[in-house]
């Protein structure tokens, strides 16, 4: 296209289009107006300019291709970065869920332990477990507050109250002496503490899993 354009131009047009401005410089390689040389110089310029312009075209095309390749690479990089971020988020959620399950399982275990201490007349151990349980319930009640509805909170508060009374009674009076009293204690331990804590723990884990979905 450039060649064709050059071909159709008149000498006068070429003089103005191709020839650099006259410049006064001393030395061997100083630029001079092309039209000074006449028609042969114009032909020479045409012979040099045309391959130069083809070379420019090639550079432009290569540059364009490089830009497209860069764009593709950037798109891939973005895609993989997003995948990595999602994977990291998933891993974080899994760890959080595992931690919650472990922590809530521990509450259930402590409650079961308290019950077995009472069953085996281990007064001091039972008092320690009861105190552990009171502080565990308080801690998890705060930690998982957003997963608990009013009913769950009420049940946990009642369970904490029951454990508190049991703890006080064990500390001051010891393990119940009569079978009837012991049965009553075990019944309260089972129904009002162990069952409630296990149920609410399972509910919290389910809520965490549901949130992840």
């Amino acid at each position: 296209m450039i060649q064709r354009t050059l071909g159709t131009r008149t000498n006068a047009q070429l003089r103005t289009a191709v020839a650099p401005k006259p410049e006064r410089r001393s030395g061997q390689f100083a630029w001079r107006p092309l039209y000074v040389g006449g028609k042969s110089k114009v032909r020479w310029v045409r012979r040099c300019a045309v391959p130069g312009l083809v070379l420019m075209d090639w550079f432009t095309s290569t540059g364009n291709l490089a830009s497209i390749a860069g764009l593709v690479v950037t798109a891939f990089a973005l895609y993989y970065a997003r995948s990595a971020r999602e994977a990291a988020r998933e891993a974080r959620k899994a760890v959080r869920k595992a931690n919650a399950s472990e922590a809530l399982d521990r509450i259930g275990d402590t409650a079961n332990l308290l019950q077995s201490c009472v069953e085996n007349d281990l007064q001091h151990e039972a008092v320690v477990r009861a105190r552990d349980l009171v502080s565990d319930v308080s801690r998890y009640r705060l930690r998982y507050d957003r997963f608990l509805d009013a009913n769950s909170k009420t049940r946990l508060d009642e369970a904490r109250g029951q454990i508190s009374v049991i703890s006080r009674s064990l500390a001051t009076r010891g393990v119940p002496a009569t079978a009837a009293e012991k049965n009553r204690l075990l019944k309260i331990c089972h129904e009002e503490v162990v069952t409630v804590l296990n149920e609410e723990s399972a509910r919290i884990v389910a809520a965490i899993e549901k949130e992840d979905e």
Binding site: L142, K153, I166
Partner: protein, 116 residues
């Protein structure tokens, strides 16, 4: 000491109306009720005849911790909590009736007696 009277009056009214779910504990003389996971009330009849009344917040911190005995106000042993003795006594009785389902059991007993 802050004035606990309006709170205790309201608790008594609701308990006597049977709308508060008081629950028995291992200690036969202690009853507890938790409200909406915000506050927990506990009322205990002591062995010396006095009463203990506690209110805890959701973190388990004691907001009210009061012991009340039947001591006349002119006595040297009189403390501020003793002025609530009668009211906490009434509250304990209402809590006991709800917690042990006294009315229901009395009806069962009457029904059984009718059979004889």
């Amino acid at each position: 000491m802050p004035n606990y009277e309006p709170l205790i009056d309201k608790l008594i009214a609701k308990s006597e109306a049977g709308t508060l779910p008081w629950k028995p504990t291992f200690d036969e003389n202690t009853f507890i009720v938790a409200l909406e996971g915000e506050v927990t009330f506990e009322v205990t009849r002591l062995e010396d005849g006095g009463f203990e009344f506690t209110m805890k917040d959701k973190d388990g911190k004691k907001i009210i911790d009061m012991t009340s005995h039947n001591v006349p106000h002119y006595s040297e042993e009189y403390v501020e909590g003793d002025r609530y003795y009668d009211k906490i006594g009434r509250l304990f009785e209402a809590a006991r009736i709800i917690g042990l389902e006294v009315d229901k059991k009395l009806n069962v007993a009457e029904s059984l007696l009718d059979k004889f």
